[in-house]
């Protein structure tokens, strides 16, 4: 019973979103750069490598503990470029605003985008604003695109994981998704969880300057760590093994996940990265990540194995094993 209409599931970042990209968009836009389906495109212009990426932000609510839609829109694209190995330089910003939206809220969001771009060291150099009639959009949607330069010696990609690689996770998971969820209408939580929204480009610079051999960088946003690891396992054609005991989750986040039946492995993050690193360099890279203000809780959560290619397995706390599949369906719509 395939659907003839777009469902919220199609925007989940999980399996069903992928089918939309693969079945409808790829065949039409057919080109080798897009078909890599990385976080951003890697372009070769005049002998230099550039990373180019775009993302649209529809998060609800637009202001949440630890961030807002403006900050998220800047850091999201900055991070996508950083995950391609690029140093982000310039961003564009496209705004779709609903008629009746308070100017004071717009000012707050723009100020926040300004601060975020300063902090990330990028400039917003072009933009566009559209206003649609009340009801034609919900409050404000923001698109950002960005471009960055990839140094010659850097070559990372989701297809480049190798058996033996150690997997570094830069900190606690599920903070962003759970924070946004607790702010929704109908969720009567009083909690102190905060979104982890943060720029990761400075952390990535530290990672590269540590001199370690880095194969994959990925920020596990929509679909969470579980979905990102599956994509890497699939594209690199190798297996991944992670350990439940090593995955950092804040107690409060863990409790909310349990109450609502969510698996933190599938909840969105907005300021975390996964780095796949040659085993001999793993400690060095881990120290580099921990030196960054957003990487203090970083740890090695697992490794790449040659068995079970394309699949991710988790060793449970009690020593059992289970598969970690890609997210299917939408856990939480409008999370970013």
């Amino acid at each position: 019973m395939k659907s003839e209409k777009i469902l919220l599931d199609h925007g989940s970042g999980g399996k069903i979103s992928h089918s939309l990209t693969k079945d409808i968009m790829l065949p039409v836009f057919d080109n080798p750069i897009l078909s890599k389906l990385n976080d951003g495109a890697i372009l070769n212009i005049g002998g230099k490598k550039f990373a180019f990426s775009t993302d649209t932000y529809v998060v609800d609510p637009i202001f949440f503990p630890g961030g807002d839609i403006g900050e998220l829109a800047v850091y999201g694209t900055v991070n996508d470029i950083a995950m391609c190995g690029g140093s982000p330089l310039y961003l564009s910003a496209g705004l779709v605003i609903e008629e009746g939206f308070p100017v004071s809220d717009l000012k707050k969001i723009i100020k926040s985008m300004g601060n975020a771009s300063k902090r990330a060291g990028v400039k917003i150099v072009t933009g566009d604003t559209k206003v649609v009639p009340k009801g034609a959009a919900d409050k404000i949607f923001i698109n950002t695109s960005g471009i960055g330069v990839i140094p010659d010696n850097i070559d990372v990609g989701c297809e480049k994981a190798l058996p033996g690689d150690k997997i570094i996770l830069s900190g606690t998971i599920a903070d962003h998704g759970i924070t946004v969820l607790t702010q929704r209408e109908g969720m009567k939580f009083t909690s102190s969880v905060r979104s982890d929204t943060a720029p990761l480009n400075h952390m990535v610079e530290k990672i590269f300057s540590s001199g370690g051999s880095i194969h994959v960088l990925r920020d596990p946003t929509r679909g969470g760590v579980g979905t990102s690891l599956n994509e890497i396992a699939e594209k690199s054609e190798c297996g991944i093994k992670i350990f439940e005991s090593r995955i950092p989750v804040k107690n409060e986040v863990k409790s909310i996940c349990e109450l609502l039946g969510f698996d933190p492995l599938y909840i969105a993050n907005e300021g975390k990265l996964l780095a796949f690193v040659s085993p001999q360099d793993s400690e060095r890279v881990l120290s580099a990540v921990r030196e960054n203000e957003f990487g203090k809780d970083a740890c090695i959560i697992g490794e790449v194995v040659s068995g079970h290619p394309g699949k991710v397995f988790l060793e449970t706390l009690i020593g059992g094993t289970r598969m970690v599949d890609m997210l299917t369906g939408e856990q939480l719509p409008r999370i970013c």
């Binding site: 659907s3 909690s191 409060e252 409790s255 079970h308 020593g319 369906g329």
Partner: protein
């Protein structure tokens, strides 16, 4: 807000000791059924099948409320969504369940007003805020959710919210146990009884079943060591040929249960003979709204056509719900039926057996045994 108590029940050392005791004690090949869908998920999530001896087979039962909801009820929900000036409110799990021609999710994409809520009281709030609309809550669940739904009907009466309705498809667990042991072709040597349901109804509610059928029964919690503790108690009962009704979850479950919740539930609902998917009609296993509250009964206030819905062709949900088959034995599993494009409800619900297998189980050689 932090659940601090959970960590000790996940302690690898405690689990290791329990596994050791189970392994030493278990001689006979036995089949134990976990009745509750939350147990099914926990068993997979914690990899419990990997650590227990091969003498023990764990089979999943009918304890996922969405899964046992009859096809005719699902079709009735979809029909309700098409009523004019009506807002349908539901827990998220029901959204994707395929009815005969559509699903609530697809109806929503068609423009019907269908909203996900986390509590029945949110549905009541929607009714209060939208007095010009009729707001229907789809009541699917066991004794765990039924008391809150009952409380919302009492609150609606108090608030004179005449535009709030409940379609009750609630079911009760103890009566289903009778049906399971009577089902032909199934051998169940013991039951892991649900934790949450038992918090409400108490272990005493299973006494009539146990006294009549003498099948080993243990109420269990949901952490790894809770489940392992229950398995140990069941193995001990079976090996000693001393069936009993025991409680491995005393920190939450008492003999008499939550009397207040049961009281509210019984005030609003009364037992009814209802159909379970895959099992058929089980006497007194459903909860219908008492006549006194018929003004809130969507089944009575809306003219829904009587349905004789067929379960999807080739779908083995029925056999899976009674432990006759495992999902891998269903011809549609993973081929035609996936969480993205489900054929039966067991693939949809977060507690469904097929969804659990799809998500966590892999048939790769030497990786996982099931």
């Amino acid at each position: 807000m932090t659940i601090k108590h959970a960590d000790e029940y996940r302690d690898p050392e405690i689990s290791r000791k329990l596994v050791e005791q189970i392994t030493n004690l278990s001689k006979k090949k036995i089949r134990l059924m976990e009745v509750c869908g939350t147990h099914t998920m926990s068993i997979f999530r914690n990899g419990i099948r990997n650590v227990i001896p091969e003498t023990i087979s764990l089979i999943s039962g009918p304890g996922c409320p969405v899964c046992v909801t009859a096809q005719s009820e699902i079709d009735a929900f979809i029909e309700l969504a098409g009523e004019p000036d009506t807002i349908i409110t539901t827990f998220g799990d029901l959204m994707r369940v395929p009815g005969t021609g559509s699903s609530l999710q697809k109806e929503r994409a068609e423009g019907r007003d269908i909203r996900m809520v986390y509590s029945t009281f949110d549905a009541l709030e929607i009714a209060v805020k939208n007095p010009e609309k009729r707001v229907v809550f789809l009541g699917v669940g066991f004794e765990t959710t039924a008391p809150t739904v009952a409380a919302s009907i009492l609150a609606a009466r108090e608030m004179k919210a005449g535009n709030f309705f409940v379609y009750s498809a609630h079911k009760t667990v103890p009566q289903a146990l009778f049906a399971l042991v009577k089902t032909e072709g199934i051998r169940i040597d013991g039951f892991i009884l649900p934790g949450h349901v038992s918090v409400i109804i108490g272990t005493g509610a299973y006494l009539p079943f146990f006294n009549q059928c003498r099948v080993p029964c243990v109420v269990a919690g949901f952490e790894p060591s809770d489940i392992l503790q229950a398995l140990l108690m069941l193995v001990r009962q079976i090996e000693n040929k001393a069936p009993g009704l025991e409680n491995a979850y005393p920190r939450a479950v008492s003999f008499e249960g939550n009397k207040k919740a049961v009281g509210v539930m019984n005030q609003v609902f009364e037992p009814a003979d209802v159909a379970w998917r895959g099992i058929g009609i089980i006497p007194r296993s459903g909860l219908k709204i008492r006549d006194e509250f018929s003004g809130y009964d969507a089944g009575k206030r809306f003219s829904i056509t009587e349905k004789v819905s067929q379960e999807p062709k080739g779908c083995a949900c029925g056999e899976i719900l009674t432990g006759l088959k495992t999902p891998v034995e269903c011809a549609l599993y993973k081929k035609i039926c996936t969480p993205v494009d489900p054929v039966g409800p067991c693939m949809v619900s977060s507690e469904g057996t097929c969804a659990a297998y799809y998500k966590y189980h892999d048939t790769g050689p030497g990786i996982l045994k099931v």
